[in-house]
Structures are given as structure tokens and as C-alpha cells.
Amino acid sequence: MNESAVFWSRLLTELTLTFHIIYATIGVGVPLMIMIAQWVGLKKNDEHYILLARRITRGFVITVAVGVVTGTAIGLQLSLLWPNFMQLAGQVIALPLFMETFAFFFEAIFLGIYLYTWDRFDNQKKHMLLLVPVAIGASISAVFITIVNSFMNTPQGFEVVSGQLVNIQPLVAMFNPSMPTKVAHVLASAYMTSAFLLASIAAYRLLRGSNHPYYKKSLFLMMKMGLIFSIATAVIGDFSGKFLAEYQPEKLAAAEWHFETEEAAPLILMGFMDEEQNIKFAIEIPYLLSILAYGNPMAEVTGLNDFPEDEIPPLYIHYLFNLMVLIGTAMILVSVLYVAGVWRGWGFIHRPWFRWVTVLGGPLTIIAIEAGWWLAEVGRQPWILRGYMRTAEGATTSDQVDLMFILFCILYLVLGIGSVVVLRRMYRLNPIEREIEDRMAEMKGVGR
């Protein structure tokens, strides 16, 4: 084993995933939002929504490009950095990885067609139909990849007989216990994040002096979507807690700082832990952990002290868990206030301070996504394949990982800055006011 290679492999994987997940989340969620915008536009016969779909698509292509290339990077890094893990796990879980390439292939083809056929069809609905395979392909890709990750948490579908994997059942491996909650949580949170990101852009434009109805419609539509999917994410999150209590109790216990196995366990919210593991400034809510874990206030929840010390994940995942939940809850609140406010005519939702909160919501949900993934990955430690292979055993023995880490840092910096600059320039050079004028002129031209 090569200690430094293990360290750098972990760091590089974390770096790639942290960067990739931003673009991947947008890649999964935004096609659905485009489809909804275009559909609303066709249904209401409102050009604004159709333009919204069209303008999001343009930006989406840029984020997809970065998502594709960083996805290629992580796909190869799995083998480059974790060759021992892939050699083992590949025998059982290669199927969803393989199917993901098909889903992605399918998506890529139709995105190319969709992008280059605006107004090519007389019937706009036909054009919208081309987006269906894009949205499905994007979501199914996420499903397959998340299945691989869920397998790492709750591996099944094989037996180990004298060091050899036998009796392998690829489908059983795919439909492992953590798969339903994980897949649902990833999808719902991707839709939620995409909706809040787009809402955040609309709110920003409104703050910056534009008073165009286009942005108001966009903001309202995306807040509605955000509301639906943030509630869905929270409900599924609750199921995830119950799943963890059953199948990965050490992960739940570490995330909740739950040390002693007890009945009627309280939930520890926030707080800090010093080096002697004393918890300070925490809010303790009686019975809540038992409810979260088993839906029963008196249920017994296993604590960290019941696990071998070298099988407990790092305790800092508590902070990640809190960050994720806090942001998610806040966003439900923000979107409820906004949607209810529009229906009931509350004035404050149009005030600058509330707009700023909405603007903040975009980056915050991205942070929640990051926190959630760090929680999921760090919470599985010390395992790379829970119960079968430790992370250190899976890593490469190659000596050049540190150098590669630096190269990839530069790469992601270039891609991150490049994509932001290009996106900003794209929309600045073609503001909505001008595009609507052009559009009107064009349509008159056709009518004449």
C-alpha cells in the first residue's frame, strides 16, 4: 500500500466529484425545467415561456459541455485512481455503468438535434418532443450512476468464497437496499437545485433594474417548481434517514453525533464538538432521532459506541448534514412564502431583500448538494465497498497522483472560469429586451 497515493487519490477524486457534481446536477435538472417552460409556453400560447426555454437551452449547452468532459474525467479516474476497487466491484456492478453510457449517448444525440432544430418544424410541439429523450436520458444517467454509488454503500448480489466472488447477480446488485432512497433523493434534489438556480437568475435580473414580465414569469414558474421538488427532496430525505437506521446505522449515528444506544433518542441539531468530543451549543430535541430513524418516538437507535472504532466515519459529517438540511428547509420556506405571496398578494415578496434571499438561494442549493455528497462519501468511510474493501485497499499504487492533482486543479479552474465568463457574456450580449424585439420583427416578417 502506498500511503501518499491513497491520500492524493482521495483528494483528487473529491476534487473531481465536487466540481463535476455542480454541472451534473444542472445537467440532470435543467432539461426538465426547459421542457416545463416550453410546455407552459405552448399551452398558454405565451411567447415569453418559449423564449425562456430557448434562452435556458443556450446556456445549458455550455454547462453540458463541462459536465460531459468532467464526467469523462471521473469515469476514467475510477480506474486510474481506484484500480483495485474497480477490478473487484467491476465484476458485480459494471452493468449500470455500462447502461449509463447508452443513456448518455441517447441524450447527447437528441440534445444536438433539439439545439439545431428551433423553428425548423411548423408544429412547435414536435420540437418539444425532441426534448423528452434529452430529459429522460439525463435523469436515467443519474439513476444508473447513483445505483453504482448505492452499491458501494450496501453491496449485495454476490458471495465471497475463499477470496473469490461467486454467485454474482447483476440485477440484485443494482436493486440494493440504499438504491431507492438514494436515487430518488439525487433526482429530486437535482430538479430542486436547477429550479432555484434559474429562479435566482430571474430574481437577480429583476433586482438589477429589469422590470420585464419575462423575468417575473420565469421567477414564479421556477419558484413553483422549486417548492414542489424541495418538499419532495425533504420527504425522501426522511426516508433516507430510516434507510440508514436500518442498513448503515454507523453513518446515521455519526451524522447525528449519537453515541449511546438508547430508546427515545433525541436529535442533536447544530453545535460544535471539541477535541474531547464534548458537544457545545447544540439544540437537543427529545425523541426526534427515534422518530427520524424509525417513525416511533420510543424506538431504540444504535449509537457509535456499539461499533468498532476503526469502522466509524469521521464525525465532522454532522456539520455537513446540518448544512444540507438547513439549506433545504430554508428553501422550502422561501419558496412557500413566495408562491403563497403571489396567490395572496403579499407585498414583501417583491421587496429587494426578499429578491436577494431568492438570489442567494441558487448558490446555497449548490452548497447543499455539495454538502450532501460529501456527507454521503465521507460517511461511508473507512469503506470504499462497505464491509468488503477499505478505501485504502482500493487505491492505486502509482507515485504520480500528487502531480495529477495539481494538473486537474488547473483544469477545473480553467473550465470553471471559462464557463462562467462565456455564460455571462452570452446573456449580456443578447438581453431579453432585444431578443423579444428581434423576435417580434421576425414574426411580422413572416406574417407579411
Binding site: 476514467l76 486510474l80 452493468l95 444536438g112
Partner: protein, 342 residues
Amino acid sequence: MSLEVLGIIVLWIFLFGYVIVASIDFGAGFFNAYSLLTGRSHILSNIIQRYLSPVWEVTNVFLVFFFVGIVGFFPKTAFYYGTVLLVPVSIAIILLAIRGSYYAFESYGSRGHKGYAFAYGVSGLLIPSSLSVVLTISEGGFVEIVDGSPVLDYWALFTSPLTWSIVLLSIASVLYISAVFLTWYAWKAQDLNASELMRKYALTWSGPLMLMAAAIIIQMQEHNPDRFRNMISIWPMFGVSAILFLLTVWLLWKKRGLGLSVGLLILQFLFAFFAYGISHYPYLLYPYLTIYEGFTNQEMAIALVIAFIAGLCLLIPSLYLIFRLFVFNKEYVTGNQKDFHA
């Protein structure tokens, strides 16, 4: 046919697909940059842009498909190749990432930066170079097993003439394939200036291509006699490839049947690629790993084959659709159509 052989054939077909579509893409980028240098950009850039825009992402998927597939069918390749290829493949990923995303930035975002066009052109040659090193390593002689882990001998690799011959062959192939394809594509777009220029490039690169191919076969004799004997034993396939090559060049020379010449070109590479693949059999990494030792279990193999067939049923109609809309659509290719870009 055994599942092992079926698996490797499927993967080899996809790798072949990648070699062809990626070569067109890489070469186009290079010619674009080169024509900028020599002040003839107006001739080429239009035609190249038209071809690349809708399909660039599809190109990338062929590669992803290959490496995901090979780890699926042959999980031991992850151990052997994953360990030794860290550096060359990481470099290839970084180049591919910059190239791919900046292509999108440029064509969908803002246009017309010269430095970018050069970077794009140069990366188009560097990527095949770094990827072709994988084939060189597979020939054996550069990997040692130390304490149970494979270790790459960089010094031996970079001082071997074989390495550099294969790098040069990959560059020559990229430029030749791309030039022949674009000759036809430009001709179809009724852009005769561009077609004529590409025809010249195609003829220019045909010589180096054959030279490098011959050089490699000769070097194999010394580098790995075992593999050399295998290559000689299937000489008829290499022979067919050579004849197809001569026919393509002849058609180009006579400016006749440009569409046919693209077909012959693909067949030429298909024969050579499969002849090489067959001569490599049964080794994935000489002499450590064969397709039989490296193969996954029966259940997974069957599942992968079923997934593959189901996937193809989905993909082939979609690929047909995108090619019909953009590559083989006369209106689109000639630019007579309105711009329907979002």
C-alpha cells in the same frame, strides 16, 4: 463464439468508431488552425464548423463507451491499465476536457479567438498521440510487476523508436482520415475550393501514413518477435487494407467518386484495425493479461451483452436520425437552410 471473443469484438468495433469520428474531428481542428496560419481560413472554417457543431458530443461518447465497456467485460484491465496509465491518460483527459469544453464555449458562446483556434488544432494532434501510447504499452516490454503491482518503465517507453512510430502513425492517420472525409464533405457542400484544398492535404498525408505503418511492422520484428509472427500470419487482411488504400488514393487523384473514396477509406482502416486486433489476440496486455484471464463472470457478461443489444436498438435509429439531419442533409450541409440554432 465465446463470450470473451464477443465482448472484445464489440469493444473493438466501438474503438474503431471512435478512431474514425474522432480523427475527422481532430484533423479538422488541425487543418482549421493550419489554414489560419497560411491565411486561407475563409476556405475551410465554414465547412468545418458546419460538420462539427451538432456531433462533437457524440464523438466523445464512443470513447466513454469503450473504456466503460472494457472495465465491464474485463475488470482486470482496471487493475493493470488503471495503475500504469495514470499519467498518459490523465494528460489525455485534460486535453480532451479543454478541447471539448472550449469548443462549446466558442461555437455556442462567443466566436473568433485566434489563440483558441491554435490550441484547438494542436490538442487535436496531442490527444491521439497520448492515447496511442496505450497501444504501445499493450505490446509488452514496458511494464514490470513489482511487489504484485504493475509499474510502467517511462524511460524505456519514451526511448523506444516503436513508441514514436506509433505516435507518428496516429497523427498521420488522423490527418489522412480527416482530409479524405472533408474532401467529400466540402464537395457535397458544393464548396469546391475547400474540397480541392482538402484533396491536396489528403494526398500529402497518404505517403507518411503508409511509411509509418510499414515502419511499425518492421520494428515489431525486433520489439516482440512473437507478436510480429502473428501479424505476418494474417497478412491477407493487411494486404486487402493496402489495396483499399491504393484505390482511395487513385480515386482522389482522379477526383472521381469522392463518396466512394470515403467508404473505401473506412474499409481500409477497418481491415487494418481488425488485422491488428486479431494479431493481438489473446492478449490485452502482453504477456500478463489475456482476454480469458481478464474476463468477468458469466452472469455479468450475459447481462452486459443483453444491455448492449437493447442499447443498440435505441442508438442506431437515433444515430441515423442525427446523421440524416446534419451530415447527409443536403440543405444543411450546403448552408442553404435557415439557421435553426437555439
